[in-house]
């Protein structure tokens, strides 16, 4: 672990990323205490520019809602969407990739054709259609993001498992009488952890971007305040009130940046040799 931290902290960007990420998580967690009022409450005149009013220092949006409050509450939602959808896509991608990689042959063929199917449909378009069809809500957004983002996980896992499978310690496990499930679970998956963690950190970032893009297309959940929603709502007034979409844009930028930096740091720290694989492959 100390070794890990040593290598991680060598990556200055990663440390900066970690700090930013920590602050954002803190903001998300403390949002209900920092801004007890609903972020939807219309508290001031519309289009109040930032830094004019001490209470509403980031200004207000088209309807006089506190932007700072929206940003804080939005952090929670955006992170949650990113995190949950990543977990869901890992839950889809890992078993598929592991089974395909471990058993090979016809199993591999079938599972990979299936994966290809999802990669052949333009991913964002598929997400749009899924959300539109199941009607926009947090759940449908999370599911849609997960459905379009698991194939890289499966591909990564398949590759890792295939290379691990040819390692002698897996043969040794076979010889020692362990069953396939045990071998996948105990011998192979623990060794894929580092690349998965690295990929996952970048997937959270990508999911946050997709969520904001969906909101931009008017496919956000209208009941929750997310960064994507604020930009989507603010884009029509970008000329009059740049700050409405500027601040959440910066928030997304920082979060995604931080996640990627952390991902890179993890990559350097966890698999110095395996590093430099495709980011989103």
């Amino acid at each position: 672990m100390t070794e890990f931290w040593k290598r991680f902290s060598k990556h200055r960007g990663a440390v900066a990323g970690l700090v930013i990420l920590f602050l954002i998580v803190l903001l998300a967690v403390l949002a209900p205490f920092l801004f007890p009022k609903s972020p939807w409450a219309m508290v001031q005149r519309p289009f109040l520019p930032p830094f004019e009013n001490a209470t509403y220092f980031l200004g207000t949006d088209t309807m006089g809602r506190d932007l700072a409050s929206g940003l804080a509450h939005g952090a929670y939602v955006s992170l949650l969407v990113g995190l949950v959808s990543t977990v869901v896509s890992l839950l889809i991608g890992i078993p598929i990739g592991a089974l395909a990689g471990y058993f090979g042959g016809i199993v591999d063929d079938v599972l990979m054709r299936f994966t290809e199917l999802f990669q052949s449909v333009p991913s964002f378009a598929l997400a749009v259609v899924l959300v539109a069809i199941f009607q926009p809500s947090i759940t449908s957004i999370v599911v849609a993001i997960a459905i379009v983002s698991w194939p890289p996980v499966a591909r990564l896992l398949r590759g890792e498992v295939m290379s691990l499978k040819s390692r002698d310690f897996v043969d040794a496990a076979v010889l020692s009488g362990q069953r396939s499930f045990t071998i996948i679970w105990r011998q192979i998956l623990p060794n894929t952890l580092s690349p998965i963690i690295v990929l996952a950190s970048m997937m959270v970032a990508a999911a946050i971007l997709v969520e904001s893009a969906l909101s931009f297309m008017g496919l956000g959940d209208a009941n929750v305040m997310s960064w994507g929603y604020i930009i989507g709502a603010g884009r029509t007034v970008i000329r009059q009130a740049w700050w409405v979409s500027f601040f959440p844009g910066v928030a997304i930028l920082l979060t995604v940046l931080a996640l990627n930096l952390v991902g890179e740091g993890l990559n350097d720290a966890l698999n110095p040799r395996l590093s430099r694989k495709g980011r989103q492959a």
């Binding site: 043969d171 010889l175 020692s176 011998q187 623990p190």
Partner: protein, 565 residues
């Protein structure tokens, strides 16, 4: 780690001081190369001094981590990032290379000093044709026209003895064999007739017969071109075969220097002596033939075949590779059978079929009379504990995410043994293979290669097998460690009355520990007999070739004779 345990002084034989007339072409003076902070020692190379004269082959010998390759890289000006020269001089024809500008160095590389590497598989650019890669040497130094370069490349390929130079020139590296690639590398190095050739373990990755050819080639070319050669190797056999002068290194420091004869025949330093003693003699000892079991052999293999189907898939054309063709042999209880062959001989496929990591395509494997070649499912699983395997690569054969105790215990646990008992047994086994019981709580990466191989052996023993298949079990180890592990295997075999199938490419290793030897060539068993018969009276041409190719055999015989005297 930074000091030599014995504190013994280096031995400098007179032969290294009394040299041919004239100036050396290369003179390395008190060269120290510093490692980056946090490495396991301060200097990779510590106050190394070597002279190399034209027409001379100087071998630098040492085990891994001795700093021998680093010295070669320093001479080439190709030290890795973060590694720096701390002091000393490297003189090429009187000019200090360490003081030269980058541009001057580009001029020298390839033209005056050339280099060949260990891994011919990776040392050539996979995306460029062979000819282009040779022509590039001329281009780099702005010599000749395009046409002339092409012609020279062809000539060079012919000179290094490639059978069809025209074709080789048009080929991509992946279309050539390892030996052919190494020839291409040599052609490239010779292109500008350099004064100095650095050969960094150039034959280590090659089969023994190929190795003999490449050594011959280097020697021949060195003579015709009157080059100075700096030859890096870990193999005293190779040293005996090729060296004029020898420098032995340990932990970055010179421990012994002298002519080949001086160092090989009268090693003065204990480390050198240890290294030379660790070389398997290549002389098989007579062993009493194992008495035949009344109930027949423990293992009987009959017409075992393995065929691979390559390039499958929906549309690819299927290609068949017959890796093993109707091989038969038997193994008595307590016997060690060696399976010897070069790469591609099918020896490993035989081993993997025996333990059923692969399914044989044909034939029978009778274990105590039961055919295990076609077992499936639970029956196969139950059989597994009777035949275990020790793998070649000590780094990939242990799961880096499992503690050593768990690695050893997981077999018995998979067969239903109680966890606590299995762990206890694991600790006992660790002690048995010469490790501390506390090793069970540690992860594999905390151990050295030799220790890891011991862990691998303990794991194989955990299931109390009757047969152990050792697939190149010592090939990845340094020679001194190799000897220790071989001794351990021998001892355990006796203790547990194990039968051993020992798969190796190294005839000397086979000679040392095997009762009987099976020689394989391209999937077929060409000869089988007692180790002694095979070595002293080989019947098959291939076997004879193999034995003759063992480097330094002539000298070794003398060394062995001296050692035993």
């Amino acid at each position: 780690m930074n000091t030599i345990g014995t504190g013994e002084k280096p031995v400098i034989h007179p032969g290294s001081l009394k040299r041919p007339e004239g100036e050396p072409i290369v003179r390395i003076e008190k060269l120290s190369i510093a490692l980056p902070e946090g490495a396991d020692r301060v200097f990779a190379v510590d106050r190394l001094s070597i002279d190399i004269h034209p027409g001379e082959i100087v071998c630098i010998v040492g085990e891994s981590g001795s700093g021998k390759s680093m010295s070669a890289n320093a001479l080439m000006g190709l030290l890795p990032d973060l590694v720096t020269v701390a002091q000393g001089r490297i003189l090429l024809g009187g000019e200090n290379l360490l003081k030269l500008s980058a541009n001057a160095l580009y001029d020298i590389r390839g033209r005056r000093v050339a280099m060949i590497f260990q891994e011919p598989m990776t040392a050539l650019n996979p995306l460029m044709k062979v000819s282009a890669q040779i022509e590039e040497v001329f281009e780099a130094h702005g010599l000749l026209t395009t046409r002339e370069r092409r012609q020279r490349a062809l000539d060079l390929l012919e000179e290094v003895g490639l059978p069809d130079p025209q074709r080789a020139a048009r080929s991509y590296p992946f279309q050539l064999s390892g030996g052919q690639r190494q020839r291409v590398m040599i052609a490239m190095a010779l292109a500008l007739e350099p004064e100095v050739l650095i050969a960094d373990e150039p034959t280590t990755a090659l089969d023994v017969t190929t190795q003999a050819q490449i050594l011959d080639l280097i020697r021949r070319l060195q003579r015709t071109h009157n080059m100075a050669v700096m030859f890096i190797t870990h193999d005293f056999g190779v040293v005996a075969e090729i060296a004029d002068q020898v420098t032995v290194m340990q932990h970055g420091q010179v421990v012994e220097q002298g002519t080949a004869d001086e160092v090989l025949l009268s090693p003065g330093h204990s480390y050198t002596r240890k290294l030379i003693a660790a070389i398997p003699s290549g002389m098989a000892n007579e062993r009493p033939a194992k008495e035949k079991n009344a109930t027949g052999p423990l293992l009987h293999v009959e017409k075992l075949s393995k065929t691979y189907f390559m390039g499958s898939g929906l549309f690819g054309k299927q290609r068949q590779v017959h890796a093993v063709k109707e091989v038969s042999f038997s193994l008595e209880r307590g016997e060690t059978l060696g399976i010897v062959g070069e790469s591609g001989s099918g020896k490993s496929s035989v081993g993997r079929c025996l333990v059923r990591l692969q399914d044989p395509s044909g034939g029978h494997i009778l274990l105590d009379g039961e055919d295990i070649a076609t077992l499936k499912g639970e029956a196969l699983r139950a059989m597994r504990r009777r035949i275990q395997m020790v793998f070649q690569d000590p780094y990939s054969s242990l799961n880096p995410r499992e503690k050593v105790g768990r690695i050893i215990a997981s077999g018995p646990i998979a067969f239903g043994e109680d966890n606590a008992a299995a762990y206890k047994e694991a600790e006992r086994l660790l002690e048995l293979v010469g490790l501390d019981a506390r090793a069970a709580e540690r992860y594999p990466h905390e151990f050295s290669g030799g220790q890891r191989q011991r862990i691998g052996i303990a794991r194989a023993l955990a299931l109390k097998p009757e047969i152990i298949v050792a697939d190149e079990a010592v090939s990845a180890l340094d020679v001194s460690i190799q000897a220790q592990v071989l001794d351990l295997l021998e001892e355990l075999k006796r203790t547990f009355n194990l039968s051993l199938v020992f798969i190796t490419h190294d005839l000397r290793v086979a000679a040392k520990i095997c009762d009987r030897v099976l020689v394989m060539q391209t999937g077929e068993a060409v000869e089988m007999g007692s180790a002694r018969t095979i070595f002293e009276n080989p019947q098959h041409t291939y076997t004879r070739n193999l034995i003759e190719a063992i480097p330094g055999r002539a000298k070794e015989a003398r060394i062995a004779a001296l050692a035993s005297a």
